[in-house]
């Protein structure tokens, strides 16, 4: 792909998003905004204990309360088998999912749902929830990952034996699984090194912090048909999970995607949806359920906290000769931490001969983790990028230079299996080095940190429909919930392909009855995969438009080409015809065969891996430990930025979330395993005044498998900040903390200890 980028008319422009006006005027319908006639309000009863056996649940008092229409417990739900079932690209254990949605035998974390009620008003539902009497036998609990793997730790699941280990362990434990990736011989690599650095790191679990809490309206008809309206990252996922959990045929469930106020991976599973359906079935009414912010923190997923060891060796001239990582990731109450991707991505930015990564998936009495932007990668790459920084500083090599010396490039064999195709890591390093930021001198108590990050990006199932309307306007349908401006991007790609005005295209995310299966909005896949479907659907529509023009001109379709939104004769041999615009062809569609459309139903392959390199300047107050982020630049290879403003938005948002992870975000538990900071007051995401404007720099090394070169951008930007911030703090203070978050008390204690 050395050719010059093509000149595009629409792709690469900063067009106004079609969903913008509704959002800024408050008209957009989010999960909690739908009200149906006769609708009742649902409320969840949650476990007050971190670990407890459920002896009995008495719902009689709640049921007797005037206005209560239904009360449900796990007894109302089918019992699921404990085996992984393919659901899109994900393997889901529906027994675990069922227990997470509604606890059956044990409550495994404080805040886990144990029952739910529906009543004519929210106040009555609240009262009824308090009247559900649950008799618990409180059990010893464990929160921390390293505590959970101890021999004498309370065991959450007595039928769980560590997978990936031979022979199968004789004793149940909290270690669900062991993974390993290796390339070459790590020990030989260390033997060849002039300098070997081994460090232990810890990171805390963090919540995705989406602004819109989970919300759903479900309505089950007497004949068993179900309508669901909810905020999620995949309405097909909601349909599949509810179908599997409740034993309802997929064809009977229609899910409509509400506008979504953020997900970041946290809305790739179900919490309230199956409960709302069950409550609707029992009460015969539509049911609305919404979580409070407190419930979001107590009852919905975070990503893992971790403990890890990273060991890397390098020669004097900065060539990394060996690398080893040992990762322990918290899964929460049920197996399934992102330890796999954490292990795979750990050393992926580098071209290494000798690598070994071992990872452990560990359960403890916390919320079941769910995806969070590049699941696992920010954790393992934080450790690796910290050690790379320390290697550079010990060897007296510039931090960008040491990355350049070792950067993965086309043809590099990654330890996790693939051989990279066209990638743009080096280009991000070059762009970072060229910034004025990187050259600007620093003052006292200030420090600069550099870190890079890698993420796979994925493809997967997507569909698209292009309908040419009678007036020549275009209705574009697809099924990927729009979180980051994807409707605008879809319309831009359709406009570019069809050669029509962006504003003549109305993109819609349609319900599960109206289009084929889509994998979730996640994995940075939508602009790549759904975009590919949109381009293919547009091309199918163009073929039909050419055929219609051929019919009008009475020539062979091969004699008609499509250029700049018009059908034209391929050559003068075909005949002398005035080009026909899309609108002109649409106008006479009824005479040439009826309505014109194009469709594509694909499983997109060839997602392009992406890299980012971030530069962070901080100032640390040596007397209070307070960190101020002075300046932040984030460089990323987007492949092709279809809509640069939304690419920059993704880069800035990801960087901010990563900075929050690095500085202040953490869950605080009391001695009973109860969360003490279930709200944004004490769970400290950065606020606007905390940060400078994040300078986003887009690098474009096109992905050859996508028609416009798209790689996907949503996840990479959350990976580098953890190490970029902590490397900057190390530079400012002279102290390496090797633990997150870098909250003021931690920093002050570290400075005091170093003196």
């Amino acid at each position: 792909m050395n050719e010059q980028p093509k000149q595009y008319k629409w792709v690469g422009t900063r067009a106004i998003r079609p969903d913008g006006v509704d959002k800024v005027t408050g008209r957009a319908m989010y999960g909690a905004d739908l009200a149906l006639p006769g609708m009742v309000e649902g409320k969840v009863v949650r476990s007050p204990h971190a670990h407890a056996r459920i002896i009995s649940i008495d719902t009689s008092k709640a049921e007797a309360l005037k206005g209560v229409t239904a009360v449900i417990t796990a007894a109302d739900m089918p019992v699921a088998d404990s085996k992984p079932v393919a659901s899109g690209e994900a393997m889901i254990n529906f027994k675990d999912l069922a227990n997470n949605v509604l606890a059956r035998e044990k409550a495994l974390y404080e805040g886990q749902a144990v029952a739910a009620v529906a009543a004519t008003t929210a106040a009555i539902a609240e009262k009824a929830a308090a009247l559900v009497v649950v008799n618990y036998e409180v059990l010893p609990h464990v929160i921390d990952v390293m505590e959970a793997i101890k021999e004498d730790a309370p065991v959450l699941h007595d039928d769980m034996f560590t997978g990936g280990v031979k022979p199968k362990p004789e004793k149940a434990s909290n270690v669900a699984n062991r993974v390993e990736f290796a390339l070459g011989d790590a020990e030989a690599g260390f033997a060849a090194a002039d300098l070997v650095i081994e460090r232990k790191f810890t990171t805390e679990p963090v919540h995705q912090g989406y602004i819109e809490p989970h919300a759903v309206v479900a309505d089950m008809n007497p004949d068993g048909k179900v309508d669901v309206f909810c905020s999620s990252q995949g309405h097909f996922m909601v349909r599949a999970f509810c179908s599997q959990l409740l034993h309802i045929e997929m064809s009977k469930i229609k899910v409509t995607a509400a506008e979504i106020g953020g997900g970041f991976g946290g809305k790739t599973t179900v919490y309230l949806e199956p409960l709302a359906i069950m409550l609707s079935r029992k009460s015969g009414r539509p049911v609305r359920m919404t979580m409070s912010r407190e419930e979001v923190f107590r009852g919905s997923g975070a990503t893992s906290g971790a403990a890890m060891t990273i060991k890397m060796g390098a020669t004097k001239d900065g060539k990394i000769t060996g690398a080893y990582a040992e990762l322990y990731l918290q899964a929460g109450a049920f197996p399934g931490s992102p330890v796999g991707p954490a292990a795979m991505t750990a050393f992926a930015p580098y071209d290494l001969d000798n690598v070994k990564v071992v990872g452990f998936d560990v359960v403890s009495n916390r919320q079941k983790v769910v995806a969070y932007r590049a699941p696992g990668a920010p954790i393992s790459e934080y450790g690796v990028e910290s050690v790379v920084d320390e290697l550079a500083s010990e060897l007296g090599i510039d931090p960008i230079e040491i990355r350049t010396i070792n950067a993965a490039k086309e043809g590099t064999q990654a330890a996790y299996g693939v051989k990279f195709g066209t990638i743009g890591f080096q280009e991000t390093l070059d762009a970072a080095k060229a910034t004025e930021h990187f050259k600007t001198p620093l003052g006292p108590n200030q420090g600069r940190g550099v870190a890079s990050g890698f993420w796979f990006n994925i493809g997967g199932e997507s569909c698209a429909g292009i309908r040419v309307n009678e007036d020549g306007s275009i209705s574009l349908t697809e099924g990927s919930p729009d979180i980051g401006g994807s409707r605008a991007s879809m319309a831009l790609m359709a406009a570019e392909t069809l050669g029509v005005d962006y504003h003549s295209i109305k993109p819609s995310v349609v319900d599960t009855d109206a289009i084929g299966y889509h994998f979730v909005t996640g994995g940075s896949r939508v602009t790549f995969a759904t975009g590919m479907a949109v381009v293919e659907a547009s091309k199918a529509a163009i073929d039909e438009l050419r055929a219609r023009a051929a019919k009008v001109w009475d020539v062979d379709v091969d004699g008609v080409v499509w250029e700049d939104g018009h059908a034209k004769p391929a050559s003068t041999n075909v005949g002398d015809f005035e080009p026909m615009s899309l609108a002109e062809i649409a106008k006479v569609a009824n005479k040439t065969g009826g309505p014109i459309s194009g469709h594509a139903d694909i499983n997109a392959k060839g997602a392009g891996p992406a890299f980012g390199t971030h530069i962070c300047d901080v100032e640390v107050d040596p007397d209070t430990g307070h960190v101020t982020v002075l300046r932040y630049t984030a460089v990323q290879d987007a492949g092709r930025a279809i809509h640069p403003a939304y690419v920059e938005g993704q880069i800035q948002g990801g960087a901010v979330q990563g900075i929050g992870w690095a500085l202040n975000e953490e869950y605080i538990y009391d001695k009973n395993g109860r969360l003490e900071n279930a709200g944004f007051l004490d769970y400290r995401v950065p606020v606007a005044s905390d940060l400078p404007m994040i300078d986003a720099i887009i690098v474009e090394v096109p992905n050859p498998t996508h028609p416009f070169g798209v790689r996907g951008v949503g996840e990479v930007p959350i990976i580098p900040p953890l190490a970029a911030v902590s490397n900057a703090v190390a530079a400012a203070t002279g102290v390496r903390f090797n633990q997150l978050p870098l909250s003021p008390p931690t920093i002050l204690a570290g400075i005091a200890a170093s003196k």
Binding site: D623, T624, G625, H626, L663, N664, I668, E676, N677, L681, D682, R684, P686, V687, S689, D690, S743, P744, P745, L748, A749
Partner: protein, 285 residues
Amino acid sequence: MRYEAPGSVDEAVKLLADANGAARVLAGGTDLLVQLRAGMISPEVVINIKDISETKGITADGGGFCIGATVSGAEMGEHAALVAAWPGVVEGVELIGSTQIQGRATMVGNLCNASPAADGVPALIAAGATCTVAGPNGQREVPVADIPTGPGKNSLANGEFIVNVKLPARPGNASDAYLRMIPRTEMDIAIVGAGVNLVLDDSGTCTEASVILGAVGPKTITVDAAAAALVGTKVDEAALAACAAAASAAATPIDDKRGTVVYRTKVSGVLASRAAAIAAERARS
């Protein structure tokens, strides 16, 4: 729940007294409404005092100021003369919440809510402010320092509410400052707060000082030793260091989700000395 909006002090006192402890006063409502929504309180009567003329406005009062109980943080921040005379008092109040909250939240509400971490209180106590308390037995003047008695508890008797706060007149070479420590830059609760009020003589020597710590005890702590460290000095480095040491020694914090004992103790001294330096600089200029 009943809602009342009396038009006079007497009417409000009667409603409060009749409710016999089951009433809550509504001024800005930024604590009250949150507590109601969270189910922390369920009063029988909510009494809005914003229709009472004596609770409104900021008036110059014999060189000092009288600030009504329903005056918002934003109103205080926009009052140039008040800001010039008592910058520390105003900056403490202005740290409460966001811009939107500032349009509602009141200093008197912050005082009565009696949070040990209240940002509006340390500088107010350092200023030697008093307040007018109305009750069934008429009105009385009370030092604001006597209002909070412990976390969430105040000294107001049944039927009483605060009508206004009075800041005294002061000489030219005087000023104050308030600093707080939060991990973020706003929208947070103080881990440590420090208010300092100073008077300098013409030579720049400190003649009077008051140092008040917040968030490091069940109520604010008046650190006389820290004030003594400043009096008689030019508020130089040695005096500031002694002030810091005295403040750290006086702090009685707890470990909680917002901070540790070690951290709060150290930072109490850091903020007290920094606030003293700012107040001195303001007094000199």
